[in-house]
């Protein structure tokens, strides 16, 4: 049997003790500064997947920035993320796991209205703060007072009013509606119809279509035949692409002063690039356009850093629509935790409600229902676009902001048939 040298044993024991002491010390430090866990589900697959991936990158950039500064209150930030497949049926299970198994400190809602809807009763019943992620009127029924949406809108009236005012100013008397038979587009279309009726616009065409329709020629021909002054479209990405192509092919007639409004997808770089010049003349909503009238501290820096990462991650290279607003969620949470010096949900919610938040997407103040007090849905007109050129969308003058007034960067070109050329 080999006997050890007593001197060596002492040295080994010393080294062992040192290692153990270091391990104990580091464990203690870790326990003191245990990470702040923020949980969310966000679509990485399904209909909302493309937007969800870009949005998540924005949030991850905030996490990396915060952690590079040493975290919040000395604690690193950890994101716990699951893919909800754009399917609301998956979110109750995921959020229950986030709360009960992962023991997250804070919650961010899934991207989109439908995946968020099942979470609202859950957070209300448990009295939890929930940061919204581009959902629409999802708190209308539940009225949870700890809900704060990052999307720059509040209701369908404020959304549609800018679009309709433009039409009214140009003497519009008639309107056509084309909307997908799905939650967001129907909510939008319902609000738009009410406002149009209130303002005396006569509806000459009103058509719903099943989601994922890709053949619109008959509907566009019917719109053309009804000779409207304004055409309001509420559609989802694949349908928006098909509608733009159909309108370019068939035309909508010389009476149409403006067309567009609520077309989801025309904010995403790859779709904008693929449509190129076919977008010219369309007027549509967005959350940000690189016009000189829109200058928020930190936004340009964020977008230039995002562009580098987006190339690596192979997500929307422009990232105008969702990523900055996801970064803003992080900024608001960070400010609230620092100000309240903790993670008490009620204190955080009170701070959220009472404060005007400084973010890279501009100041955000919330109204009672957790939506923006000063809605800022930008209506932009695509002009002077060429085909197959992604970089052109980073230049001013390609998405001219028509409303709201403080950010206006140009005048509406109309009628549409003239504006498209």
């Amino acid at each position: 049997m080999k006997q050890g040298n007593p001197k060596n044993i002492t040295r080994r024991a010393f080294v062992g003790a040192a290692v153990a002491a270091t391990a104990v010390a580091s464990t203690a430090t870790f326990a003191q500064g245990a990470p702040i866990k923020i949980g969310l589900s966000i679509a990485q697959t399904g209909g909302l997947g493309a937007g969800g991936k870009a949005a998540l990158l924005g949030l991850q950039m905030w996490r990396d920035d915060v952690n590079a500064k040493g975290g919040i209150l000395g604690r690193k930030v950890e994101l716990i993320v699951y893919d909800d497949q754009s399917n609301p049926a998956t979110t109750p299970g995921i959020y229950t796991k986030l709360l009960d198994v992962d023991k997250v400190d804070l919650l961010i809602a899934p991207y989109g209205t439908n995946p968020t809807a099942p979470i609202m009763p859950l957070v209300k019943q448990r009295g939890l703060l929930l940061m919204g992620n581009f959902s629409f009127e999802v708190n209308e029924r539940i009225q949870h007072d700890m809900w704060f949406n990052n999307a720059p809108w509040n209701d369908s009236v404020t959304w549609f009013s800018g679009f309709m005012e433009m039409g009214m100013k140009r003497g519009a008397k008639t309107i056509a509606f084309l909307a997908a038979d799905a939650e967001f587009s129907q909510s939008l279309a319902t609000g738009a119809k009410n406002l149009a009726k209130h303002n005396g616009l006569k509806t000459v065409y009103d058509q719903k279509y099943p989601p994922n329709t890709n053949e619109f020629s008959s509907m566009i021909r019917s719109i053309k035949a009804s000779k409207p002054d304004v055409v309001f479209i509420a559609s989802y990405p694949s349908e928006s692409v098909a509608i733009v192509r159909a309108v370019n092919e068939i035309g909508v007639g010389s009476t149409v002063k403006l067309i567009g409004g609520g077309m989801v997808g025309l904010q995403f770089g790859p779709i904008m690039e693929s449509l190129g010049s076919q977008l010219n003349g369309f007027v549509n909503y967005t959350s940000y356009a690189p016009e000189k009238t829109v200058e928020f501290p930190g936004l340009k820096d964020f977008l230039s850093r995002y562009a580098v990462k987006a190339k690596v991650e192979k997500v929307d290279p422009l990232g105008f629509y969702l990523p900055p607003f996801n970064y803003a969620i992080g900024q608001m949470l960070e400010a609230a935790i620092v100000a309240t010096k903790g993670l008490d949900q009620k204190a955080l919610a009170k701070y959220m409600r009472d404060t005007e938040h400084k973010t890279i997407v501009g100041p955000i103040k919330y109204q009672r229902n957790g939506e923006w007090a000063n809605a800022r849905v930008m209506m932009v007109q695509f002009t002077g676009l060429k085909d197959k050129d992604m970089e052109q969308f980073r230049q001013p003058g390609k998405q001219v902001i028509l409303s709201p007034a403080p950010y206006k960067s140009g005048e509406l070109k109309f009628p549409y048939e003239k504006a498209r050329n």
């Binding site: 699951y82 299970g93 995921i94 009960d100 809807a117 099942p118 539940i142 038979d181 939650e183």
Partner: protein, 332 residues
């Protein structure tokens, strides 16, 4: 004959004992586990046991492939919503109403589409799902395309949370569905349905009441699917047509019996436990994206390698082993 009878009696006793054991295990789980997530995930797996067992009554025993599971499931959910909105009905009443409503729907579909066979019957069931989804999409009372959010009421004593209550209800529903499926398999109904599956004309010629049996199968299968969908509103706290009528329910309800084995009541249970659990684990570990891939790959694998499912595979292996044993015995 009497030997067979006593063996069936023995099997029944084992089955009843198994059911009691499952209920006791569920009660132990509810008293021992404090995280709602366990009940949430288990609820989904149990829900698939009901759907798979229900699908197998028509698809497995009678050979009529139903692609419209989502239609029955969603109608169950919307019937429950109607009962809540109209009468503020408790969960049990919602489930009974959903089962009745979808049973009648099953009867209707049976009368209309059982004149169709094979792929034409399957297409008709898809059409029913599309028609019903369109109706719901355009009915404002049910929230239309926007759907409706619901606040859960307080759980009924002795349950401490609504999640545990839903879990226990689904345990009972799964046991009932499996028991019904087992009864049908072993009774004259199951024998008749198997005769229909083998050769419908021949069955009719020898006096099997084919239409009557097919109607029983569609009604029972539909009622069970609807009952499984009834608690959906309170499970999700929300219902909207696109996810309620999702094709995923139809595909999973079909894939689970095929993977487990369609010839016996235990096949859908094995398939649902296996596939449902894997789906739940994958969703929160690797990626939800893999869910669909897993279902697809397993389905292709079993259709090609083991068309009779896990049950068939086990039977094949047993036969092989016993043949080997016989050969060895002979050699000795």
């Amino acid at each position: 004959m009497s030997g067979k009878m006593s063996s069936m009696g023995g099997n029944n006793r084992i089955f009843v004992g198994g059911c009691i054991a499952v209920v006791l295990a569920a009660i132990a789980l509810m008293t021992g586990v404090r995280t709602d997530y366990v009940f949430n995930a288990s609820y989904v797996v149990l829900q698939f046991i009901v759907l798979a067992s229900a699908w197998n009554i028509l698809g497995g025993y009678a050979g009529y492939v139903n692609f419209g599971t989502s239609a029955f499931f969603a109608m169950g959910g919307y019937t429950a919503l109607f009962m809540i909105k109209m009468f503020n009905a408790p969960l049990l009443v919602q489930i009974i109403a959903a089962a009745c409503c979808t049973g009648v729907l099953g009867l209707g579909i049976g009368l209309i589409s059982l004149r169709l066979r094979g792929i034409f019957f399957s297409i008709a069931t898809v059409a029913v799902a599309i028609v019903l989804e369109t109706v719901i999409l355009n009915t404002d009372y049910f929230g239309g395309a926007k759907g409706l959010q619901m606040m859960r009421p307080e759980p009924i004593a002795p349950f401490t949370s609504y999640d545990t209550m839903l879990f226990f209800v689904m345990v009972l529903m799964a046991i009932s569905a499996v028991a019904i499926s087992r009864y049908i398999e072993q009774s004259w109904i199951g024998r008749g349905l198997r005769a229909i599956k083998d050769n419908e004309e021949a069955a009719e010629c020898v006096g099997v009441p084919t239409l009557k049996l097919k109607l029983i199968a569609t009604v029972v299968s539909g009622a069970l699917m609807g009952a499984a969908g009834a608690p959906l509103v309170m499970y999700m706290r929300f219902i909207e047509p696109v996810s309620a009528f999702s094709l995923n329910y139809s595909v999973s309800a079909l894939a689970m019996p095929i993977i487990g084995g369609t010839s016996s009541w235990i096949g859908p249970v094995i398939g649902a436990l296996l596939l449902g659990s894997v789906q739940q684990i994958v969703t929160v570990t690797i990626s939800s994206e893999l869910n669909v891939l897993i279902v697809g790959v397993l389905l292709v694998f079993f259709v090609v390698v083991a068309p009779d499912g896990i049950l068939g595979l086990v039977r094949k292996l047993r036969t092989k082993n016993s043949a080997k044993g016989d050969a060895k015995g002979g050699a000795q």
